[in-house]
Protein backbone atom coordinates (compact mmCIF):
# COMPACT_ATOMS: atom_id res chain seq x y z
CA UNK A 1 0.00 0.00 0.00
CA UNK A 2 0.95 3.67 -0.24
CA UNK A 3 2.77 5.34 2.62
CA UNK A 4 -0.17 7.66 3.19
CA UNK A 5 -2.56 4.69 3.34
CA UNK A 6 -0.23 2.93 5.77
CA UNK A 7 -0.44 5.94 8.08
CA UNK A 8 -4.22 5.83 7.94
CA UNK A 9 -4.56 2.07 8.46
CA UNK A 10 -2.02 2.17 11.27
CA UNK A 11 -3.98 4.98 12.93
CA UNK A 12 -7.13 2.89 12.98
CA UNK A 13 -5.17 -0.09 14.33
CA UNK A 14 -3.41 2.08 16.92
CA UNK A 15 -6.78 2.88 18.45
CA UNK A 16 -6.86 6.49 17.35
CA UNK A 17 -9.89 8.34 18.69
CA UNK A 18 -10.02 11.11 16.13
CA UNK A 19 -8.58 12.49 12.92
CA UNK A 20 -9.16 16.07 11.81
CA UNK A 21 -7.73 17.16 8.49
CA UNK A 22 -7.89 19.26 5.38
CA UNK A 23 -7.02 18.11 1.86
CA UNK A 24 -3.59 18.96 0.52
CA UNK A 25 -1.35 17.14 -1.96
CA UNK A 26 0.62 14.89 -1.47
CA UNK A 27 -1.03 13.55 1.72
CA UNK A 28 -4.73 13.61 0.91
CA UNK A 29 -4.91 9.80 0.76
CA UNK A 30 -4.69 9.69 4.57
CA UNK A 31 -8.15 11.16 5.08
CA UNK A 32 -9.50 9.52 1.91
CA UNK A 33 -8.46 6.11 3.23
CA UNK A 34 -10.06 6.78 6.63
CA UNK A 35 -13.32 7.72 4.90
CA UNK A 36 -13.16 4.99 2.24
CA UNK A 37 -12.53 2.18 4.73
CA UNK A 38 -15.07 3.72 7.11
CA UNK A 39 -12.80 4.02 10.11
CA UNK A 40 -15.75 5.30 12.13
CA UNK A 41 -17.71 2.10 11.56
CA UNK A 42 -14.65 -0.02 12.34
CA UNK A 43 -13.61 1.50 15.66
CA UNK A 44 -15.87 4.47 16.40
CA UNK A 45 -13.02 6.80 15.55
CA UNK A 46 -14.05 10.36 14.65
CA UNK A 47 -12.97 11.46 11.17
CA UNK A 48 -13.81 15.03 10.22
CA UNK A 49 -12.82 17.25 7.32
CA UNK A 50 -12.32 20.75 8.66
CA UNK A 51 -12.67 24.01 6.76
CA UNK A 52 -8.95 24.74 7.00
CA UNK A 53 -5.74 23.43 8.46
CA UNK A 54 -6.06 26.11 11.14
CA UNK A 55 -9.40 24.71 12.18
CA UNK A 56 -8.25 21.08 11.89
CA UNK A 57 -5.32 21.51 14.27
CA UNK A 58 -7.51 23.39 16.75
CA UNK A 59 -9.98 20.51 16.66
CA UNK A 60 -6.97 18.33 17.44
CA UNK A 61 -6.23 20.66 20.36
CA UNK A 62 -9.79 20.27 21.64
CA UNK A 63 -9.86 16.48 21.40
CA UNK A 64 -6.34 16.25 22.84
CA UNK A 65 -7.44 18.26 25.86
CA UNK A 66 -9.88 15.40 26.55
CA UNK A 67 -6.97 12.94 26.69
CA UNK A 68 -7.86 11.27 23.42
CA UNK A 69 -5.50 9.78 20.84
CA UNK A 70 -5.93 12.38 18.14
CA UNK A 71 -4.07 13.22 14.97
CA UNK A 72 -3.97 15.26 11.82
CA UNK A 73 -1.94 15.06 8.66
CA UNK A 74 -1.00 17.71 6.18
CA UNK A 75 1.78 18.88 3.92
CA UNK A 76 4.17 21.79 4.19
CA UNK A 77 1.94 24.84 3.46
CA UNK A 78 -0.75 23.30 5.67
CA UNK A 79 1.73 22.66 8.46
CA UNK A 80 2.77 26.31 8.27
CA UNK A 81 -0.85 27.24 8.95
CA UNK A 82 -0.92 24.85 11.90
CA UNK A 83 2.19 26.25 13.55
CA UNK A 84 0.29 28.64 15.80
CA UNK A 85 -1.74 25.84 17.34
CA UNK A 86 1.29 23.53 17.50
CA UNK A 87 2.89 26.12 19.76
CA UNK A 88 -0.28 26.16 21.89
CA UNK A 89 -0.33 22.34 22.01
CA UNK A 90 3.27 22.32 23.23
CA UNK A 91 2.61 25.13 25.70
CA UNK A 92 -0.52 23.50 27.09
CA UNK A 93 1.28 20.11 27.05
CA UNK A 94 -1.25 18.25 24.95
CA UNK A 95 -0.38 14.93 23.30
CA UNK A 96 -1.19 14.45 19.63
CA UNK A 97 0.24 13.22 16.36
CA UNK A 98 0.89 15.56 13.45
CA UNK A 99 1.99 14.03 10.15
CA UNK A 100 3.80 16.20 7.62
CA UNK A 101 4.07 14.57 4.20
CA UNK A 102 6.25 17.41 3.09
CA UNK A 103 6.62 19.03 -0.31
CA UNK A 104 8.86 21.63 -1.86
CA UNK A 105 8.60 25.25 -0.75
CA UNK A 106 8.77 28.09 -0.09
CA UNK A 107 5.26 29.32 -0.70
CA UNK A 108 2.97 27.09 -2.70
CA UNK A 109 6.20 25.57 -4.04
CA UNK A 110 5.63 22.19 -5.60
CA UNK A 111 3.81 18.98 -4.77
CA UNK A 112 7.00 16.96 -5.21
CA UNK A 113 8.92 15.60 -2.19
CA UNK A 114 11.16 17.79 -0.09
CA UNK A 115 12.89 17.81 3.29
CA UNK A 116 13.04 21.58 3.54
CA UNK A 117 10.68 21.59 6.54
CA UNK A 118 13.45 20.26 8.79
CA UNK A 119 14.10 23.64 10.41
CA UNK A 120 10.37 24.32 10.81
CA UNK A 121 9.91 20.96 12.50
CA UNK A 122 12.86 20.69 14.86
CA UNK A 123 13.73 24.33 15.47
CA UNK A 124 10.36 25.89 16.08
CA UNK A 125 7.85 26.69 13.39
CA UNK A 126 5.57 28.28 15.93
CA UNK A 127 6.52 30.83 18.54
CA UNK A 128 8.26 30.20 21.83
CA UNK A 129 10.75 27.69 23.26
CA UNK A 130 9.22 24.34 22.44
CA UNK A 131 10.22 21.07 20.82
CA UNK A 132 8.32 18.47 18.83
CA UNK A 133 9.45 14.92 19.24
CA UNK A 134 10.01 14.11 15.56
CA UNK A 135 10.17 10.74 13.81
CA UNK A 136 11.37 10.45 10.20
CA UNK A 137 10.22 7.25 8.46
CA UNK A 138 12.21 6.05 5.45
CA UNK A 139 9.82 3.32 4.31
CA UNK A 140 6.12 2.57 4.10
CA UNK A 141 6.73 0.02 6.86
CA UNK A 142 7.99 2.77 9.16
CA UNK A 143 5.03 4.98 8.22
CA UNK A 144 2.86 2.21 9.67
CA UNK A 145 5.10 1.41 12.63
CA UNK A 146 5.59 4.97 13.81
CA UNK A 147 1.91 5.81 14.32
CA UNK A 148 1.28 3.81 17.51
CA UNK A 149 4.79 4.71 18.71
CA UNK A 150 4.02 8.40 18.18
CA UNK A 151 0.82 8.21 20.19
CA UNK A 152 2.65 6.44 23.03
CA UNK A 153 5.48 8.97 23.05
CA UNK A 154 3.00 11.84 22.89
CA UNK A 155 1.24 10.57 26.00
CA UNK A 156 4.48 9.68 27.78
CA UNK A 157 5.66 13.29 27.49
CA UNK A 158 2.33 15.14 27.13
CA UNK A 159 3.78 16.67 24.00
CA UNK A 160 2.87 16.80 20.31
CA UNK A 161 4.78 14.31 18.15
CA UNK A 162 5.51 14.92 14.48
CA UNK A 163 6.04 12.30 11.81
CA UNK A 164 8.11 14.20 9.25
CA UNK A 165 7.72 12.29 6.02
CA UNK A 166 7.82 13.48 2.43
CA UNK A 167 5.86 13.17 -0.78
CA UNK A 168 8.01 10.26 -1.96
CA UNK A 169 7.39 8.05 1.08
CA UNK A 170 3.76 9.14 1.18
CA UNK A 171 3.09 8.19 -2.43
CA UNK A 172 5.43 5.19 -2.65
CA UNK A 173 3.86 1.72 -2.69
CA UNK A 174 5.58 -1.03 -0.72
CA UNK A 175 4.72 -4.25 1.03
CA UNK A 176 3.92 -3.55 4.65
CA UNK A 177 3.29 -5.69 7.71
CA UNK A 178 0.43 -3.95 9.46
CA UNK A 179 0.57 -3.60 13.22
CA UNK A 180 -1.78 -5.51 15.50
CA UNK A 181 -5.02 -3.76 16.33
CA UNK A 182 -5.31 -2.34 19.79
CA UNK A 183 -8.46 -0.98 21.42
CA UNK A 184 -9.28 2.69 21.77
CA UNK A 185 -8.75 4.24 25.18
CA UNK A 186 -11.49 3.81 27.75
CA UNK A 187 -9.75 5.64 30.57
CA UNK A 188 -8.23 9.06 30.31
CA UNK A 189 -5.45 10.84 32.18
CA UNK A 190 -6.24 12.90 35.28
CA UNK A 191 -5.30 16.14 33.58
CA UNK A 192 -7.80 15.61 30.75
CA UNK A 193 -10.79 17.95 30.78
CA UNK A 194 -13.44 15.28 30.42
CA UNK A 195 -15.77 16.77 33.02
CA UNK A 196 -14.97 16.69 36.72
CA UNK A 197 -15.71 13.83 39.09
CA UNK A 198 -17.91 14.63 42.09
CA UNK A 199 -15.72 16.34 44.68
CA UNK A 200 -13.10 17.24 42.12
CA UNK A 201 -12.32 20.87 41.32
CA UNK A 202 -12.39 22.22 37.79
CA UNK A 203 -9.30 21.59 35.72
CA UNK A 204 -7.74 23.91 33.20
CA UNK A 205 -5.91 23.36 29.95
CA UNK A 206 -3.98 26.52 29.18
CA UNK A 207 -0.67 27.87 27.97
CA UNK A 208 -1.14 31.28 29.59
CA UNK A 209 0.68 32.66 32.64
CA UNK A 210 0.64 36.43 32.94
CA UNK A 211 3.10 36.27 35.84
CA UNK A 212 6.53 35.99 34.27
CA UNK A 213 7.98 34.33 37.33
CA UNK A 214 5.36 31.58 37.05
CA UNK A 215 5.80 31.33 33.31
CA UNK A 216 9.54 30.92 33.63
CA UNK A 217 9.00 27.93 35.91
CA UNK A 218 6.54 26.50 33.35
CA UNK A 219 9.16 26.92 30.62
CA UNK A 220 11.83 25.32 32.76
CA UNK A 221 9.56 22.34 33.26
CA UNK A 222 9.09 22.04 29.49
CA UNK A 223 12.84 22.23 29.00
CA UNK A 224 13.39 19.48 31.58
CA UNK A 225 10.98 17.33 29.57
CA UNK A 226 12.95 17.98 26.39
CA UNK A 227 16.20 17.07 28.16
CA UNK A 228 14.56 13.79 29.20
CA UNK A 229 13.62 13.13 25.58
CA UNK A 230 17.24 13.73 24.62
CA UNK A 231 18.26 11.12 27.19
CA UNK A 232 15.67 8.49 26.40
CA UNK A 233 14.23 8.82 22.92
CA UNK A 234 17.05 9.10 20.41
CA UNK A 235 16.56 6.64 17.57
CA UNK A 236 18.88 6.08 14.62
CA UNK A 237 20.19 3.41 12.28
CA UNK A 238 23.77 2.71 11.22
CA UNK A 239 24.57 0.80 8.03
CA UNK A 240 28.15 -0.26 7.28
CA UNK A 241 29.44 2.24 9.81
CA UNK A 242 31.65 -0.20 11.80
CA UNK A 243 34.70 0.17 9.57
CA UNK A 244 33.56 3.16 7.50
CA UNK A 245 35.97 5.93 6.58
CA UNK A 246 33.28 8.18 5.16
CA UNK A 247 29.66 8.30 6.28
CA UNK A 248 26.57 9.67 4.60
CA UNK A 249 24.09 11.22 7.04
CA UNK A 250 20.56 11.21 5.67
CA UNK A 251 16.98 10.70 6.85
CA UNK A 252 13.72 9.66 5.20
CA UNK A 253 13.72 9.24 1.43
CA UNK A 254 17.28 10.60 1.18
CA UNK A 255 18.49 7.74 3.35
CA UNK A 256 16.77 5.22 1.08
CA UNK A 257 18.58 6.62 -1.95
CA UNK A 258 21.88 7.00 -0.12
CA UNK A 259 21.69 3.37 1.01
CA UNK A 260 21.79 2.38 -2.64
CA UNK A 261 24.87 4.58 -3.15
CA UNK A 262 26.61 3.13 -0.11
CA UNK A 263 25.93 -0.46 -1.15
CA UNK A 264 27.27 0.20 -4.68
CA UNK A 265 30.44 1.73 -3.25
CA UNK A 266 30.83 -1.12 -0.76
CA UNK A 267 30.61 -3.55 -3.69
CA UNK A 268 33.46 -1.56 -5.24
CA UNK A 269 35.50 -1.97 -2.05
CA UNK A 270 35.02 1.57 -0.71
CA UNK A 271 34.63 1.92 3.05
CA UNK A 272 31.52 4.08 3.21
CA UNK A 273 28.61 3.92 5.61
CA UNK A 274 25.18 5.40 6.21
CA UNK A 275 23.98 7.03 9.40
CA UNK A 276 20.22 7.55 9.46
CA UNK A 277 18.66 9.71 12.17
CA UNK A 278 15.20 8.30 12.90
CA UNK A 279 14.39 10.89 15.53
CA UNK A 280 15.20 14.34 14.15
CA UNK A 281 14.41 15.78 17.55
CA UNK A 282 15.99 14.54 19.72
CA UNK A 283 18.83 14.46 17.22
CA UNK A 284 21.34 11.59 17.58
CA UNK A 285 24.17 14.03 18.24
CA UNK A 286 26.06 11.93 20.81
CA UNK A 287 26.11 8.98 18.43
CA UNK A 288 27.38 11.11 15.55
CA UNK A 289 30.01 12.66 17.80
CA UNK A 290 31.22 9.20 18.75
CA UNK A 291 31.27 8.12 15.11
CA UNK A 292 33.30 11.22 14.24
CA UNK A 293 36.18 9.82 16.26
CA UNK A 294 36.42 6.87 13.87
CA UNK A 295 35.73 8.35 10.42
CA UNK A 296 37.40 10.83 8.08
CA UNK A 297 34.38 12.77 6.91
CA UNK A 298 30.60 13.09 6.69
CA UNK A 299 28.31 13.98 3.81
CA UNK A 300 24.88 15.27 4.74
CA UNK A 301 22.40 14.45 1.99
CA UNK A 302 19.06 16.23 2.10
CA UNK A 303 16.21 17.35 -0.14
CA UNK A 304 16.91 20.92 0.89
CA UNK A 305 19.57 23.61 0.68
CA UNK A 306 21.18 22.16 3.79
CA UNK A 307 19.28 22.19 7.07
CA UNK A 308 20.08 19.02 9.03
CA UNK A 309 23.76 19.62 8.23
CA UNK A 310 23.72 22.33 10.92
CA UNK A 311 22.89 19.71 13.54
CA UNK A 312 25.46 17.31 12.08
CA UNK A 313 28.09 20.04 12.35
CA UNK A 314 27.03 20.87 15.91
CA UNK A 315 27.41 17.21 16.81
CA UNK A 316 30.68 16.60 15.00
CA UNK A 317 32.33 19.94 15.68
CA UNK A 318 35.67 20.37 13.99
CA UNK A 319 36.73 16.73 14.37
CA UNK A 320 36.33 15.94 10.65
CA UNK A 321 34.94 17.69 7.56
CA UNK A 322 31.15 17.76 7.10
CA UNK A 323 30.12 18.30 3.48
CA UNK A 324 26.71 18.73 1.90
CA UNK A 325 24.80 17.47 -1.10
CA UNK A 326 21.19 18.36 -1.75
CA UNK A 327 18.57 18.81 -4.40
CA UNK A 328 15.96 21.53 -4.18
CA UNK A 329 12.43 22.36 -5.13
CA UNK A 330 11.05 18.83 -5.27
CA UNK A 331 13.96 17.29 -7.19
CA UNK A 332 15.23 13.94 -5.90
CA UNK A 333 18.89 12.92 -6.29
CA UNK A 334 19.97 9.70 -7.96
CA UNK A 335 22.33 7.28 -6.20
CA UNK A 336 24.92 8.24 -8.82
CA UNK A 337 24.70 11.93 -7.91
CA UNK A 338 25.32 11.11 -4.25
CA UNK A 339 28.23 8.92 -5.26
CA UNK A 340 29.58 11.80 -7.33
CA UNK A 341 29.42 14.09 -4.30
CA UNK A 342 31.24 11.54 -2.13
CA UNK A 343 33.96 11.15 -4.76
CA UNK A 344 34.27 14.90 -5.19
CA UNK A 345 34.64 15.76 -1.50
CA UNK A 346 36.51 12.73 -0.26
CA UNK A 347 38.50 11.65 -3.34
CA UNK A 348 37.24 8.08 -3.08
Amino acid sequence: MKGNEAIAEAAIRAGADAFFGYPITPQTEVMEYLMETDATARTGMVVLQAESEVSAINMVYGAASCGRRVMTSSSSPGISLMCEAISYLAGAELPCLIVNVSRGGPGLGTIQPSQADYFQTVKGGGHGDYKLLTLAPSSVQEMADFVALSFDLAFKYRNPVMILSDGAIGQMMEKVYLPEERPRLTEFPDWATTGTRPGQHGRTITSLNLLSSVHEVHNQRLQAKYRQMEQEEIRYEELYCDDAEYVVVAFGISARIAQNTVERLRAAGKKVGLFRPITLYPFPAPQLAALAKRVKGFLSVELSAGQMIEDVKLAVGSQVPVEFFGRLGGMVPTPEEIEGALRKYFSL
Binding site: V46, E51, N58, V60, S65, P198, I205
Partner: protein, 259 residues
Amino acid sequence: MDVKDIIREENLVYKKSRLLTDTPFNFCPGCGHGTVVRLIAEVIEEMGIEHDTVGISPVGCSVFLYDFYDFDVVEAAHGRATAVATGIKRVMPDKFVFTYQGDGDLAAIGTGETIHACNRGENFVIVFINNGIYGMTGGQMAPTTLEGMKTATCPRGRDVKTMGYPLNITPLLAQLDGTYYVTRQAVHTPAAVRKTKRALRQAFENQKNKKGMSIVEVVSNCNSGWGLPPLQANRWMEENMFAKYQLGDMKVDGVLQMR
Protein backbone atom coordinates in the same frame (compact mmCIF):
# COMPACT_ATOMS: atom_id res chain seq x y z
CA MET B 1 -20.44 40.74 64.35
CA ASP B 2 -19.69 37.78 62.14
CA VAL B 3 -20.88 37.50 58.56
CA LYS B 4 -23.02 34.54 59.66
CA ASP B 5 -24.90 36.82 62.06
CA ILE B 6 -25.72 39.18 59.24
CA ILE B 7 -26.59 36.66 56.56
CA ARG B 8 -29.10 34.29 58.13
CA GLU B 9 -30.39 31.38 56.11
CA GLU B 10 -33.98 32.57 56.39
CA ASN B 11 -33.04 35.98 55.03
CA LEU B 12 -31.01 34.67 52.12
CA VAL B 13 -32.47 35.84 48.82
CA TYR B 14 -29.45 35.38 46.61
CA LYS B 15 -26.14 33.62 46.77
CA LYS B 16 -23.14 33.06 44.56
CA SER B 17 -23.28 29.90 42.47
CA ARG B 18 -21.06 27.21 43.95
CA LEU B 19 -19.62 26.81 40.46
CA LEU B 20 -17.98 30.22 40.79
CA THR B 21 -14.65 30.18 42.58
CA ASP B 22 -13.62 32.85 45.07
CA THR B 23 -11.26 34.43 42.53
CA PRO B 24 -12.40 38.03 42.02
CA PHE B 25 -13.52 38.79 38.46
CA ASN B 26 -10.94 40.75 36.49
CA PHE B 27 -13.66 42.68 34.68
CA CYS B 28 -13.93 46.45 35.05
CA PRO B 29 -16.63 47.71 37.43
CA GLY B 30 -19.88 48.13 35.53
CA CYS B 31 -18.99 45.68 32.79
CA GLY B 32 -21.61 43.15 31.68
CA HIS B 33 -19.15 40.25 31.43
CA GLY B 34 -19.40 39.39 35.11
CA THR B 35 -23.17 39.08 34.91
CA VAL B 36 -23.04 36.72 31.95
CA VAL B 37 -20.28 34.62 33.51
CA ARG B 38 -22.44 34.29 36.62
CA LEU B 39 -25.59 33.42 34.66
CA ILE B 40 -23.82 30.60 32.86
CA ALA B 41 -22.66 29.18 36.21
CA GLU B 42 -26.22 29.41 37.56
CA VAL B 43 -27.72 27.65 34.54
CA ILE B 44 -25.16 24.84 34.71
CA GLU B 45 -25.69 24.48 38.46
CA GLU B 46 -29.48 24.47 38.14
CA MET B 47 -29.31 21.83 35.40
CA GLY B 48 -26.92 19.79 37.55
CA ILE B 49 -24.51 19.26 34.67
CA GLU B 50 -21.30 20.69 36.12
CA HIS B 51 -19.55 17.32 36.03
CA ASP B 52 -20.41 16.96 32.35
CA THR B 53 -19.47 20.45 31.21
CA VAL B 54 -16.39 21.80 29.46
CA GLY B 55 -16.11 25.52 28.77
CA ILE B 56 -13.85 27.13 26.19
CA SER B 57 -12.13 30.42 27.02
CA PRO B 58 -10.47 32.00 24.01
CA VAL B 59 -8.41 35.17 23.88
CA GLY B 60 -9.99 38.44 24.99
CA CYS B 61 -11.66 39.44 28.24
CA SER B 62 -12.92 35.83 28.30
CA VAL B 63 -9.44 34.37 28.65
CA PHE B 64 -9.45 34.02 32.45
CA LEU B 65 -12.78 32.22 32.54
CA TYR B 66 -11.01 29.19 33.98
CA ASP B 67 -10.09 31.17 37.08
CA PHE B 68 -13.76 31.86 37.81
CA TYR B 69 -15.37 28.50 37.10
CA ASP B 70 -15.09 25.37 39.20
CA PHE B 71 -15.57 23.01 36.27
CA ASP B 72 -13.30 22.02 33.39
CA VAL B 73 -12.23 24.84 31.09
CA VAL B 74 -9.97 24.77 28.05
CA GLU B 75 -8.20 27.85 26.76
CA ALA B 76 -8.29 28.38 22.99
CA ALA B 77 -6.11 30.43 20.68
CA HIS B 78 -7.64 33.69 19.46
CA GLY B 79 -10.56 32.93 17.16
CA ARG B 80 -10.35 29.15 17.42
CA ALA B 81 -12.89 28.52 20.16
CA THR B 82 -15.48 26.84 17.96
CA ALA B 83 -12.85 24.58 16.36
CA VAL B 84 -11.58 23.57 19.81
CA ALA B 85 -15.18 23.04 20.95
CA THR B 86 -15.80 20.89 17.87
CA GLY B 87 -12.83 18.69 18.76
CA ILE B 88 -14.08 18.30 22.33
CA LYS B 89 -17.72 17.70 21.45
CA ARG B 90 -16.92 15.21 18.68
CA VAL B 91 -14.96 12.95 21.02
CA MET B 92 -17.35 13.47 23.96
CA PRO B 93 -20.79 13.92 22.33
CA ASP B 94 -22.65 13.43 25.61
CA LYS B 95 -20.87 16.23 27.45
CA PHE B 96 -22.01 19.85 27.54
CA VAL B 97 -19.67 22.21 25.72
CA PHE B 98 -19.87 25.97 25.43
CA THR B 99 -17.67 28.74 24.10
CA TYR B 100 -17.54 32.24 25.54
CA GLN B 101 -16.36 34.61 22.85
CA GLY B 102 -16.04 38.32 22.29
CA ASP B 103 -16.72 40.15 19.04
CA GLY B 104 -13.07 40.17 17.99
CA ASP B 105 -12.76 36.45 18.59
CA LEU B 106 -16.04 35.39 17.00
CA ALA B 107 -16.54 37.95 14.25
CA ALA B 108 -13.02 38.95 13.18
CA ILE B 109 -10.17 36.47 13.59
CA GLY B 110 -12.50 33.51 14.12
CA THR B 111 -15.17 34.26 11.49
CA GLY B 112 -14.31 31.16 9.44
CA GLU B 113 -14.36 28.83 12.42
CA THR B 114 -17.62 30.39 13.64
CA ILE B 115 -19.46 30.04 10.33
CA HIS B 116 -18.30 26.50 9.67
CA ALA B 117 -19.00 25.20 13.17
CA CYS B 118 -22.50 26.69 12.88
CA ASN B 119 -22.91 25.30 9.38
CA ARG B 120 -21.97 21.81 10.53
CA GLY B 121 -24.66 22.11 13.16
CA GLU B 122 -22.23 21.29 15.93
CA ASN B 123 -24.19 20.53 19.06
CA PHE B 124 -22.78 23.06 21.50
CA VAL B 125 -23.53 26.55 22.80
CA ILE B 126 -21.87 29.78 21.71
CA VAL B 127 -22.11 32.68 24.14
CA PHE B 128 -21.16 35.78 22.20
CA ILE B 129 -20.42 39.06 23.99
CA ASN B 130 -20.77 41.98 21.60
CA ASN B 131 -19.51 45.25 23.04
CA GLY B 132 -18.23 46.74 19.82
CA ILE B 133 -14.64 47.01 20.97
CA TYR B 134 -11.51 45.07 21.90
CA GLY B 135 -11.59 45.30 25.68
CA MET B 136 -8.61 43.20 26.73
CA THR B 137 -6.08 44.95 24.52
CA GLY B 138 -7.30 48.37 25.59
CA GLY B 139 -10.10 49.55 23.33
CA GLN B 140 -9.32 49.03 19.65
CA MET B 141 -11.79 48.82 16.76
CA ALA B 142 -13.79 45.61 16.58
CA PRO B 143 -15.74 44.23 13.61
CA THR B 144 -18.87 45.32 15.48
CA THR B 145 -17.67 48.86 16.25
CA LEU B 146 -20.44 51.24 15.15
CA GLU B 147 -20.04 53.73 12.33
CA GLY B 148 -18.48 56.91 13.70
CA MET B 149 -17.64 55.27 17.03
CA LYS B 150 -14.23 56.25 18.39
CA THR B 151 -11.69 53.65 19.49
CA ALA B 152 -7.92 53.61 19.94
CA THR B 153 -7.44 52.47 16.33
CA CYS B 154 -10.14 54.71 14.87
CA PRO B 155 -9.64 57.79 17.06
CA ARG B 156 -11.63 59.99 14.65
CA GLY B 157 -14.47 57.50 14.54
CA ARG B 158 -15.01 54.42 12.36
CA ASP B 159 -14.98 55.55 8.75
CA VAL B 160 -16.92 52.86 6.94
CA LYS B 161 -15.42 53.87 3.60
CA THR B 162 -11.97 52.75 4.63
CA MET B 163 -12.61 50.57 7.71
CA GLY B 164 -15.63 48.62 6.60
CA TYR B 165 -19.10 48.44 8.10
CA PRO B 166 -20.13 47.16 11.52
CA LEU B 167 -20.53 43.41 11.08
CA ASN B 168 -23.95 42.25 12.17
CA ILE B 169 -22.92 38.60 12.22
CA THR B 170 -25.61 36.91 14.28
CA PRO B 171 -28.47 37.28 11.76
CA LEU B 172 -26.05 35.88 9.19
CA LEU B 173 -25.44 32.83 11.39
CA ALA B 174 -29.19 32.43 11.86
CA GLN B 175 -29.46 31.90 8.09
CA LEU B 176 -27.32 28.77 8.28
CA ASP B 177 -29.12 25.43 8.31
CA GLY B 178 -26.94 24.17 11.16
CA THR B 179 -28.09 26.74 13.72
CA TYR B 180 -31.11 25.83 15.84
CA TYR B 181 -31.45 28.73 18.23
CA VAL B 182 -30.10 32.24 17.72
CA THR B 183 -31.01 35.04 20.07
CA ARG B 184 -29.69 38.47 21.03
CA GLN B 185 -30.03 39.64 24.62
CA ALA B 186 -28.57 42.18 27.05
CA VAL B 187 -27.75 42.34 30.78
CA HIS B 188 -28.14 46.06 31.56
CA THR B 189 -31.39 45.79 33.55
CA PRO B 190 -32.73 43.16 35.96
CA ALA B 191 -35.42 42.24 33.42
CA ALA B 192 -32.82 41.82 30.67
CA VAL B 193 -30.67 39.68 32.98
CA ARG B 194 -33.61 37.36 33.61
CA LYS B 195 -34.32 37.09 29.88
CA THR B 196 -30.68 36.33 29.15
CA LYS B 197 -30.68 33.62 31.77
CA ARG B 198 -33.75 32.05 30.19
CA ALA B 199 -32.03 32.19 26.79
CA LEU B 200 -28.91 30.52 28.19
CA ARG B 201 -31.03 27.82 29.78
CA GLN B 202 -32.82 27.27 26.47
CA ALA B 203 -29.45 26.98 24.69
CA PHE B 204 -28.16 24.35 27.13
CA GLU B 205 -31.47 22.46 26.96
CA ASN B 206 -31.13 22.41 23.18
CA GLN B 207 -27.71 20.89 23.56
CA LYS B 208 -29.11 18.29 25.94
CA ASN B 209 -31.69 17.41 23.31
CA LYS B 210 -29.01 17.29 20.59
CA LYS B 211 -30.63 19.98 18.50
CA GLY B 212 -27.50 21.54 17.05
CA MET B 213 -25.96 24.95 17.45
CA SER B 214 -27.43 27.49 19.88
CA ILE B 215 -26.06 31.04 19.93
CA VAL B 216 -26.78 33.54 22.67
CA GLU B 217 -25.43 36.95 21.76
CA VAL B 218 -25.30 39.46 24.58
CA VAL B 219 -24.95 43.09 23.54
CA SER B 220 -22.97 44.54 26.37
CA ASN B 221 -21.11 47.62 27.46
CA CYS B 222 -17.41 48.28 27.74
CA ASN B 223 -17.37 51.37 29.88
CA SER B 224 -13.59 51.60 30.06
CA GLY B 225 -13.16 50.96 26.34
CA TRP B 226 -15.93 53.39 25.51
CA GLY B 227 -14.59 55.95 28.01
CA LEU B 228 -17.93 56.32 29.78
CA PRO B 229 -19.08 55.83 33.38
CA PRO B 230 -21.19 52.65 33.72
CA LEU B 231 -24.62 54.31 33.77
CA GLN B 232 -23.81 56.54 30.82
CA ALA B 233 -22.32 53.55 29.00
CA ASN B 234 -25.57 51.66 29.42
CA ARG B 235 -27.57 54.64 28.14
CA TRP B 236 -25.23 54.97 25.17
CA MET B 237 -25.64 51.26 24.52
CA GLU B 238 -29.44 51.49 24.54
CA GLU B 239 -29.44 54.44 22.17
CA ASN B 240 -26.72 53.34 19.77
CA MET B 241 -25.81 49.65 20.07
CA PHE B 242 -29.42 48.46 20.31
CA ALA B 243 -30.30 50.52 17.24
CA LYS B 244 -27.82 48.56 15.15
CA TYR B 245 -27.96 45.30 17.09
CA GLN B 246 -31.65 44.87 17.87
CA LEU B 247 -32.50 42.57 20.75
CA GLY B 248 -34.71 39.55 20.32
CA ASP B 249 -34.91 36.03 18.98
CA MET B 250 -33.66 35.45 15.43
CA LYS B 251 -34.19 31.72 15.25
CA VAL B 252 -36.15 29.49 17.60
CA ASP B 253 -36.48 25.73 17.28
CA GLY B 254 -34.74 25.94 13.93
CA VAL B 255 -37.28 28.45 12.57
CA LEU B 256 -36.27 31.97 11.52
CA GLN B 257 -38.29 34.62 13.36
CA MET B 258 -39.97 37.43 11.42
CA ARG B 259 -38.51 40.80 12.40
